[in-house]
Symmetry: C2
Subunit: 710 residues, 2 copies
């Protein structure tokens, strides 16, 4: 069974000890794809499109039909107030179209279809990211908090109004003073046994709730996260259902501010809230993971406050799932626009005097866009596996603690990579379209502005990657728990000597890795699937092992010294986590490719996967060279292979590969990707051709001079 692979992760609890289990991984040959297959394979666009649509393709198609409707699409240039009202109206359209109920309990009319629910919301980014995020606030955060943190009484009392938008609500977790560090929020909910209610207070300005969608204008209620204090004890962060406004505005004790203009997502009314002696009935504590009895006694099904906190937060992972998916959709759209334009736009003559080149035929243009297309495919396949894992956990199909922890780790690894990649892809696409890319009508600048915040909300990307690193270290130390310090230290020394490959048990692959040092071989043997996997996996393992070695003294240090030691490895930890995430993407991409039956499609997708894998190795070539995993000549051969083989091969199929994203003209929107540029180019060429044929084109002074000299 293949391990340390996203597919495997989604199928069972194998993520946990990947390093131990990796030992047992057989070298599984990929489906045979001849290295020298017929000159130009063809892509079965329709079948590839279906494959990319994935398990919830029907929901995605329904959502895309909605996203193509004029009343659901963004109108550019609206004022903030207009944009907010329009987005609110679109939420009502979603209610009318029954597009919001999928995740909710059947007891209140839902479908309990968690994966499909997210898939549908992700596609809304095509219409307007503000719509995606405001929907996410209402149903994915506010509603989901009531669903997951509340109990049946809360479901019956609040979910119907949340689902039909009678109760627009805010998700009041983040405070001005605390972003990603939720455990440290300052808001307090102190149980008062005399009135039988919790008293909410905001003790200082930094404890104001901040950046909350629906808080500035539309919110009638909120789920508020506060330190639960009863009988003089602080039991940590819990969630409360809190009414905010009636028709006359804020209720007594509640105040707030508008966050005002943002760098994007201005269709959402983000705002701040603060509470002064606001009384909440005891029953409005969302009490699934912690309850307070009438006499003030606290109880919880989870004894450890730390585990309780992470369990509560873990129920809210779906925000990260949907950001990851939206980043994939936006990246697909950006590359559809940039590659279509690049294949039609002509600029500069190269080989001939009069025919200008299509800019996508320039090597640099291919270098800019095709590796990003490969990354987008990797992100897309990885997201599909991530979404399946999410559905597995939330449907209850696989819902152990280990499953939930695995899901958290996958979310923390993939969301940073995809949201950063989306910004990078949107920007490169913008620049690749030049001045046209800067026009709002061509979509790229607005999408980039809206997606900017995806990198820091629902968990700052750098903080999330540290969670991944922590998990990698934990798994690593578990593996060595029985081995004692001597073995571990030895392991680290071995890393330096490059001998660790055998020791960690990468049987059968170790030999070929050692061969990478030989300059006698061609790039051939790192082009194949197993060699790429080996190089990518080895890097994650070695990085983790190296850091673990450096952190080892921490157990003997004071808390302050240990923190300093950890801090001095923080950057390396984050880079290790990134490498881990990239490996997950590569594994998902590879599984995705191997599931393709059509030989031509599989050949092209294999090239694209190779471009993804080899680009990762090229990007980290210094690491591979330093650690003796590849030779200098091999590193150069990888670059040549990308430039001279993969890019020209994939250039031929670039338009098919974006066609498989299945966007309609309504989704694309950008005139430059809908034939405008092609028509202009044709008109210009026809003009010159006609005048040349008629002999009415003026003589060029340059050719005149050449003629005189000849």
């Amino acid at each position: 069974m293949p391990l340390y692979r996203l597919r495997a992760v989604a199928e069972g609890p194998t993520y946990r000890n990947f390093m131990t289990q990796l030992t047992d991984r057989p070298t599984q040959p990929a489906p045979s794809v001849s290295a020298e297959s017929p000159a130009t394979p063809t892509v079965d666009v329709a079948a590839l499109g279906e494959h990319l649509m994935g398990r919830w393709g029907d929901v995605r198609r329904t959502a895309r039909a909605l996203a193509a409707r004029p009343d659901v699409k963004r109108i550019e240039g609206q004022s903030m107030a207009e944009h907010r009202e329009r987005t609110m109206g679109q939420l009502r359209v979603l209610v009318d179209e029954r597009a919001v109920h999928r995740a909710f309990p059947k007891s209140v009319g839902g479908d309990e279809n968690h994966g499909g629910n997210i898939a549908g919301f992700e596609e809304l980014v095509l219409a307007d990211p503000s719509l995606q995020i405001k929907s996410g606030v209402q149903w994915g955060l506010f509603g989901a908090a009531v669903m997951h943190l509340g109990t049946e009484i809360h479901h019956q009392k609040y979910l119907p109004g949340i689902m039909n938008l009678e109760i627009p609500g805010a998700f009041a977790m983040t405070e001005t003073g605390h972003g990603s560090d939720v455990a440290a929020v300052g808001t307090t909910a102190t149980f008062d046994v005399h009135t039988g209610s919790f008293i909410l207070n905001t003790p200082f300005r930094a404890a104001w709730k901040d950046y909350l969608g629906n808080a500035a204008v539309h919110g009638r209620a909120a789920v508020v996260f506060a330190q639960l204090i009863t009988q003089g004890v602080n039991h940590g962060v819990h969630a409360f259902f809190v009414p905010l406004r009636d028709d006359n505005g804020f209720l007594p004790g509640i105040g707030g501010e508008d966050d005002g203009l943002k760098g994007g997502l201005n269709g959402i009314d983000n705002g701040r809230l603060h509470f002064t002696d606001v009384h909440i009935p005891r029953e409005d504590l969302l009490n699934r993971y912690g309850n307070v009895a009438e006499d003030g006694t606290y109880s919880s099904p989870i004894e450890s406050p730390g585990r309780r906190f992470f369990t509560m937060l873990g129920t809210l992972v779906q925000g990260r799932v949907s950001l990851d998916g939206a980043a994939v959709v936006a990246s697909k759209l950006a590359l559809t626009i940039a590659l279509t334009y690049g294949a039609e736009r002509r600029q500069f003559t190269a080989g001939s005097e009069s025919n200008e080149e299509v800019i996508l035929d320039y090597q640099r243009h291919q270098r800019r866009l095709l590796p990003r297309l490969a990354t987008t495919y990797a992100m897309s396949f990885a997201h599909e596996v991530f979404l399946a894992k999410f559905d597995d956990v939330f449907s209850g199909a696989h819902d152990t603690d280990a499953d939930r922890q695995d899901l958290e780790t996958i979310a923390a690894a993939l969301k940073p990579l995809s949201t950063w990649a989306a910004l990078d892809i949107l920007q490169e696409s913008r620049e690749a379209c030049g001045g046209q890319g800067f026009l709002v009508e061509n979509r790229l600048t607005s999408l980039r502005a809206d997606l900017d915040i995806y990198a820091t909300f629902e968990g700052d990307n750098n903080v999330l990657l540290q969670l991944v690193a922590k998990r990698l270290l934990t798994d690593y130390s578990r593996k060595f728990a029985h081995a004692g310090a001597g073995v571990m230290a030895q392991f680290v020394v071995d890393q330096v000597n490059d001998a660790a490959i055998n020791r960690t048990g990468l049987r059968g692959l170790a030999q070929s890795v050692r061969d990478f040092g030989s300059t006698a071989r061609s790039v051939g043997n790192i082009r194949d699937e197993d060699s790429q996997r080996q190089l990518l996996t080895d890097r994650v393992q070695s990085m983790v092992a190296e850091i673990a070695g450096r952190l080892r003294p921490a157990s003997r240090l004071s808390k302050v010294e240990a923190a300093a030691l950890f801090n001095s490895n923080q950057n390396a930890l984050i880079e290790a986590a990134r490498a881990h995430g990239e490996l997950l993407q590569w594994e998902a991409f590879t599984d995705g490719v191997n599931a393709i039956e059509d030989a031509g499609t599989r050949q092209v997708l294999t090239w694209l996967r190779d471009l993804f894998g080899l680009s990762l190795i090229e990007k980290n070539a210094a690491w591979y060279l330093i650690h003796g995993r590849i030779s200098g000549r091999r590193a150069q051969a990888i670059t040549s292979y990308i430039d001279d083989r993969l890019l020209p091969r994939l250039r031929v199929h670039a338009l098919d590969l974006v066609a498989a994203f299945e966007f309609t003209a309504e989704h694309i929107g950008a005139p430059i990707a809908l034939g405008e540029e092609k028509a202009r180019q044709a008109e210009a060429r026809d003009y010159y051709r006609a005048r040349r044929d008629a002999g009415t084109l003026p003589v060029d002074e340059k050719s005149l001079i050449k003629g005189l000299r000849a």
Copy 2:
């Protein structure tokens, strides 16, 4: 005399054959800075600020005073129409404040102060990039074209109205179908001997002039670039003064469109123009570099059409100068905001239970911001030298063909690096400020949106870097012109064998380079100035030599084959050009550091320069490893030296280093960098401290459990 250095470039015509002349460079010792100077040196902020202000500090200070005025600053959230009118009004303020005349001829009331003029406009980016760019359109492009491409008659007739804004104008060069490839514009100006006028025509849609500031609303005239055709011969692109509108709108034969909303810079009314049989008097050809007599005879002081074209375009280099400078100013502002916030914002506890860390004390945060601060200093010093070179050429002090070509090459190298860096710095600063960074009030998102287009206008960055690469190849081939093919081929082979260091004559340094391969030495000897220079210089030379070797067969190939060969090296060429630009920045930074007299300031700046230089080497470590210039152990030592030494040392001085940028509160604007965050943090800490002291803080459940277990 030190060569291949920006300072040297500015002093004389030494850029041309840098590779030949590098042979003669003496190893000039840097002013002595003890490796182990007193524990914590101090920065003389005022003196450093003065140094950074540079030669035109007085003009910069005047412009900054203007940029701090409420009526000159941007109002966020205005509609496009409001923003356009406000920006136009601000141009009038500039006229009233005599801020626009500096560059113009004394004959029309100007100062002929070219460097100072640009310096002043650059600082306007602090108030609103739309103001900087709309000013640039009016006086830097439209006005400068009349000044540089026209003759005395045009100066007297048009410049006064351009200067006082009676004639707002557009610079009509770019066409929808032709961006960076100006030579291929489709607009024609055909001389009609009967009427004695040029007849302007737009032959097809792709030849519409596009993206022109002032074209959509305010422009009364334009300088239009068109193919000059007379007596059946096309003499290439020339500029014409063309009236566009009177009070009733477009004049006969002229039409256009509004470009509409853009990703930024919406204070500028960009638009499109087209011409149908528009008659222009013969005298309105801006005829400095090409004239047509009454009988239709064409004449030019420059015989070669190619050289003539590049000379005309070369007079318009100031746009690139000012974009480079504005990118520096914006980067300084972004880092002032992010570093100030990072030094005050607290998040997560590390060493102690209750004291949260200032986020700038996290290694990752330092890794994100401090190398970018080093880059900003490098850009700042490089820009100052660039501006001096510009002034030298345009004042006539050093105005040979070689000087102009050098200036073009410097512009083409620095503008791409600084405009890309500014986007990167603005984005990283935004993310480093989390949700606060996304609020428009904190400046970063709007600046980023506005500066986005800097990467592709006034020459697409990738196209500009190709110009640099072309120059590097030309200089290289000149050097070997006398040597014959055998030597050149040999040279390339030598590169691979790493023996080229002696051959290219890096006397005295070659030994230490070879020593880099030894793992016995510490990082010490690549920390010094000469070793960094050696590594950076060697890389540029070797890359150029390698590519030249690969391109060598081109002379024996058909045009189509040669183009394909060139294309297959396009990416490598652009990377070589980037390396060249980075070396220019490093040299300017080093000269800037060495000119500092105060020992403490020089020490800190030397660390910052080292961070810049070593970060470049780290970024390109794969190249250095592949080419045997450094060993793997040395590469790791560089990373450790950055992480363990340079970052912690510079962290201490980070606020001084941004204080030296000398921005006032009015320039910074962002509340999070003006004490707001600090006050919030203090209030929160005081709250907890008071309650802890009073014994009224609830007991933490966690500590309760610990207590029970103890």
